[in-house]
């Protein structure tokens, strides 16, 4: 008891002797921590009613019907999963190619210019990408991609009719939005490879691609992976560009030509019209799932980045 008191007094004395600016900035840092705790706390609190009523069924349930107060999140989890996963696969392939182009093939004078173009593109607001998606990607899916893949429509992923508003359209806009992010990371990593190592490989008679394969790519694997995971996190949480083209229909379908729905999209769409307590609770609970999802993704990225710094 006495020792606890002693500790408190010592801590207070320490604070009193603290540099005033240190005290002030520590105060703001504590406020930030409180805000984040409040953030998580209020989200969990508001989502409790729906978890109490449905339990695990809220996550695995396949029906979402606000009028009947039935809430199952699986269609949105599926939609988020399928769009973000396919988008990141495309993004990785394109990013590696584009980064290889910028670092190894493009003339050095152009390199800085191309890098800043790609960084500026990341700054374009997603609602603008969504607007473009409605007027160009949706027709592209309906009038070009659907007929193009008709011979392959026996594959479940490519079956069915489409209005254009579809998982496919969402995947395309997502790919466009996240590819510059991963490209930028991979490009920076490739640029950081010491020229001596590359020269050593060239001196052994390696071709440009072989130098990339045996020197640059293995050396930059972790940094590239961290960038790719960050890009994936962006795809999981992206709202506007997706909500404008995905079709906003809560079904679980394999075909990418069918409309779908994502966690972020349904929150954006239904929040204003939600009137029942349970509906609002369900939407906030979707937010908790999305929160946890992106938290896990970010934790992975942070973990990998830490290793990057050490190696």
């Amino acid at each position: 008891m006495v020792s606890v008191l002693g500790k408190i007094i010592r801590a207070l004395k320490k604070i009193l002797r603290m540099d005033p600016l240190e005290g002030l900035s520590l105060f703001f840092s504590v406020i930030l921590i409180v805000v984040v705790l409040l953030f998580m706390g209020s989200m969990v609190l508001y989502s409790l009613p729906v978890f109490e009523k449905f339990g695990i069924k809220f996550i695995v349930g396949t029906e979402w019907n606000p009028r009947k107060d039935i809430f199952g999140a699986l269609p949105f989890v599926w939609g988020t999963f399928i769009t973000s996963t396919i988008a990141i696969v495309f993004a990785v392939a394109i990013s590696y190619g584009a980064a290889y182009f910028i670092v190894e093939i493009a003339p050095p004078k152009l390199r800085e210019f191309l890098s800043s173009v790609i960084e500026l593109i990341v700054a374009i607001p997603s609602v603008i990408i969504g607007l473009w998606g409605i007027f160009y990607v949706v027709p592209l899916v309906r009038d070009f991609l659907r007929p193009l893949f008709l011979p392959l429509s026996f594959i479940p992923f490519l079956s069915g009719e489409t209005s254009g508003y579809s998982l496919m359209a969402a995947i395309i806009v997502l790919t466009l939005m996240i590819t510059p992010i991963s490209t930028s990371f991979i490009k920076n990593a490739l640029e950081s490879v010491p020229i001596e190592l590359k020269e050593a490989a060239y001196a052994l008679g390696a071709t440009r691609y072989e130098v990339f394969k045996i020197v640059s790519k293995p050396l930059t694997r972790r940094a590239a992976l961290a960038g790719i995971i960050l890009a994936y996190g962006r795809a999981v949480g992206e709202t506007m560009a997706v909500v404008m083209v995905v079709g906003n229909t809560p079904n679980i379908s394999l075909s990418l030509f069918n409309p779908g729905y994502t966690l972020a999209a349904v929150i954006a769409n239904e929040f204003l019209e939600a009137t029942s307590v349970l509906h609002i609770s369900a939407l906030i609970a979707l937010g908790v799932i999305l929160f946890a999802w992106s938290l896990a993704v970010n934790a992975l990225a942070i973990l990998i980045m830490k290793r990057v710094r050490i190696s």
Binding site: E22, A123, M244
Partner: protein, 277 residues
């Protein structure tokens, strides 16, 4: 001489890289060009000086959204600049050990949260008390901007060379004065650049506003009244069935893109000419 398999492989990957680069860059050029072409028609004085007209009449503008955006972004900066600045300053100059690590992790977490979630948070703490309002939207955007401001401030202050700090201390100046007048002074332009980039980052945010500010056609009279915003107008008009509104959406998109790009390019240029030391 026949080209070897190795050189063919090399050529194949070169071709793939060029193809991948084009796949990346062509749609992005298309986005920019289509916004300019579709948006330039209605990017006129009326767009930025008048409120929207009744449903099917032509003309009208987005003054209500411009005022709303100004209000929401102002509130966001009011929240995020002091918080982000002092947290970044604490991390760069004072924080040590586990607590510093914890604080940095917290900022990474905050930076990785989807923006719509910040809107949900603002809903649970502001909307339920004050209703849909510019304040709620500004709060959400402020939360989004904090990690950007904190990180750029920490980086800017971290770039101050040890010799400069030592010179400050060697004059017998107290720590807080060294930090505030020597370090912050030295890193001033980079700190301001960070503020501007955070502003550019949140000015185009739409999702959190969608569920916090309601977005009607009225010019908000105070921070507690519902408001609209430029990105939100783009969304609402894009989904409408009317061509006139589509045109306004494109023009608003062009306006927004110009604002964002001007800030970004301006900051780059500003840092380049300021990079004298």
């Amino acid at each position: 001489m026949r080209p070897s398999l190795r050189s063919l492989t090399d050529k194949f990957y070169t071709a793939f890289a060029i193809f991948a680069f084009l796949i990346l860059i062509i749609p992005l050029l298309h986005i920019i060009l289509s916004i300019i072409i579709n948006g330039i028609k209605r990017l006129d004085l009326e767009l930025i000086t008048s409120p929207p007209k009744s449903l099917l009449g032509s003309g009208g503008g987005i003054l209500h959204a411009i005022v709303g955006t100004a209000m929401v972004v102002f509130i966001a900066m009011l929240i995020s600049l002091p918080l982000g600045f002092f947290v970044g300053l604490y991390l760069a100059e004072f924080a040590k050990g586990k607590f510093a690590h914890f604080l940095r992790t917290l900022i990474s977490v905050l930076a990785g949260i989807p923006s719509i979630i910040a809107g949900v948070f603002a809903y649970t703490v502001i909307v339920v008390v004050y209703g849909f309002s510019a304040l709620a939207g500004g709060f959400a955007l402020g939360i989004i901007a904090i990690p950007y401001v904190a990180r750029s401030t920490e980086e800017a202050l971290g770039s101050v060379p040890m010799e400069i700090k030592e010179a400050g201390f060697s004059l017998g100046i107290e720590r807080w004065k060294v930090v505030l007048f020597i370090d912050v002074g030295y890193a001033k332009s980079r700190i301001i650049a960070g503020f501007l980039l955070a502003l550019a980052r949140v000015i185009g945010e739409t999702a959190p506003l969608l569920i916090t500010i309601l977005g009607g056609i009225n010019i908000p009279s105070n921070i507690f009244s519902p408001a609209n915003a430029i990105p939100l107008v783009i969304y609402q008009y894009a989904l409408s069935p009317f061509r006139i509104w589509h045109n306004i959406a494109w023009s608003a998109a062009l306006l927004l893109m110009i604002i964002v790009l001007v800030i970004n390019l301006g900051v780059r240029y500003y840092l380049k000419i300021k990079a004298i030391y």
